[in-house]
Point group: C2
Chain length 157, copies 2
DNA sequence: CAACAATAGTTGTTTAAACAGTAAACAGCC
DNA sequence: GGCTGTTTACTGTTTAAACAACTATTGTTG
């Protein structure tokens, strides 16, 4: 099992355990997300559009407003507009204006969108299960706990 | 300390520990890298250009070929060309053709590039130290070890 | 040594992210 | 009820990532 130092081709060891942990987090995220990106791509989606579709499926028939989608995706509203543009153009979602507040745009998933997600559910689950199958449940729980702690630092702006 | 489930606003718990770990890895990478991105931005750099400059500084006066830079950055060669374009335009790096192989382009860092990096060294180190300062060294080492293991799965293509 | 393949890098084009600025609808106030 | 400010979403523009196609040089081989 290669260390990160070897992978990166660095001669000297890391300056600190925190720096090593940080770089390991970034690298692992990149490595593990790549197969998912391929999967999304083969379904004509990106990670962003996939996540948006998931939000819309969870929202059901009533749909979600653009700013709600943006909040959940941690994306800006202008980006949501174009993201929904793409979904709508692909027939996976549709917009409709609210009666009560005519500024608001309610976005909901279409049957085609549900079908597209349904096609992905099993492969995604399989990938999740296979990707970390070599780790024990207690290791995974420890990992999650440490990661939650890692990002809960006092804001250092 | 909020759980990821609460942060995402999800009602049901995760389907599996591996899925939870995966999402925690992505989320933590995103949260922890944001302050660095701001730092780079304030110096007129991106994460990519910063990493490229680091590679060039480590390479010293002899510099590096484009494909070497690409391999270390895990980037494609066409992207390296434009990345070096930006560095050169900003006066932070320079190109020169090899005498021995006139196809090869050797890229090296300039004095301005070294100065730019030097300005960032201390803030970067401070951020690394402060960001995970609330975790013990043994926690960080455990985290790193688990992350290395997480991404060393048998290829699942 | 001519022809073909391989290598190093660049250019073109499409796509998406980022963010400022704008338009329309609503809310509160005098 | 009109004016100001706020909210909701859209549009414009810049910038970068992804990837195919291309040029120039070098290596190989019959």
């Amino acid at each position: 099992m290669p260390t990160l130092a070897q992978e990166i081709g660095k001669q000297r060891p890391f300056e600190s355990p925190s720096q090593e942990a940080y770089l390991n987090i970034l690298r692992t995220a990149s490595v593990l997300s790549a197969p998912f990106a391929h999967l999304f791509d083969s379904a004509g989606l990106s990670e962003a559009t996939y996540n948006a579709l998931r939000i819309l499926r969870a929202a059901g028939a009533q749909g979600r407003l653009c700013n709600e989608i943006g909040a959940q995706l941690v994306a800006r509203v202008p980006d949501v507009t174009r993201l929904v543009d793409r979904l709508e153009k692909a027939g996976l979602a549709r917009r409709r204006r609210e009666g009560s507040d005519r500024r608001a745009v309610r976005v909901s998933i279409t049957a085609a969108g549900l079908a597209r997600l349904a096609d992905l559910d099993q492969p995604i689950t399989d990938l999740h299960n296979s990707q970390l199958a070599h780790m024990s449940e207690s290791q995974l729980n420890t990992l999650s706990k440490l990661l939650v702690k890692a990002r809960s630092a006092p804001a250092a702006h």
